[in-house]
Symmetry: C2
Subunit: 116 residues, 2 copies
DNA sequence: ATCATATATGAACAGTTGTTCATATGAGGA
DNA sequence: TCCTCATATGAACAACTGTTCATATATGAT
């Protein structure tokens, strides 16, 4: 039957589903992407850079946060290769370096605006 | 010029970008979705339910975690309306209730498998 | 060189998160 | 009714996260 068996597991169903679940490494990679976007500051940074590149201090103004706080978050996003940067004198410009993340963000924006 | 001005901000660029950034509430909604998917246990649960509905104890087996831990995570996903449940006697079956989240997950899976 | 400015970094701290453990609820069977 | 099983819940705790503050680095200007 479909009811959890002996030890409260339906072995057949569990094994069936188990086959379809991606390997741990894949799950962790997905988690890392979602985690990067699951902080309002980081998401706002990426949303801002969707429009155009910006220097650190401009991003700080856009996010209403200290340069330092922004710098920490930029490092996270850069380490994940979601952002890249270029130097122009003293100033460092950040921009988006990952199209996949852009599509994820656009899709999630679509979803919340065209509520189901 | 394009270099950060007086107080290290390029006002024109900042205002330009500011116009394109979604309102705080939208950003928070997006963050909530991404946050829901940014834990390996929760993501694995949703990935499993992509295949078929499962009872709590089966999900616990699939995730190698205690019934209690799973129950806590299921509550989070149910509260967010990502999952729904139905009772059949003593057993409660969980399944997916949010197509948007499904598309986000599928898209992120695509991205990590077809690496850029 | 010296100084000011833009960005980066490390330590510290508060707030949050996920799991465990103990216990509660709620349904079916004896 | 009493017991068992499936699930839910609250408290506690360790681990993690994001910001601040102080300080460091690096570039350009004087």
């Amino acid at each position: 039957m479909d009811i959890c068996g002996d030890k409260c597991i339906n072995e057949k169903k569990v094994l069936e589903t188990l086959k379809t679940i991606p390997p741990v490494e894949s799950i962790n990679q997905m988690v890392d992407i979602f985690k990067a976007l699951s902080d309002p500051t980081r998401l706002k940074i990426v949303l801002a850079l969707l429009k155009q590149e910006h220097c650190v201090c401009d991003i700080a103004v856009l996010c209403n946060l200290s340069d330092s706080a922004i710098s920490h978050q930029l490092r996270i996003l850069r380490t994940m290769k979601i952002l890249k940067n270029r130097r122009e004198g003293k100033i460092i410009y950040y921009s988006i370096d990952d199209d996949h993340v852009v599509s994820l963000i656009k899709m999630s924006l679509d979803h919340i605006t065209h509520a189901k």
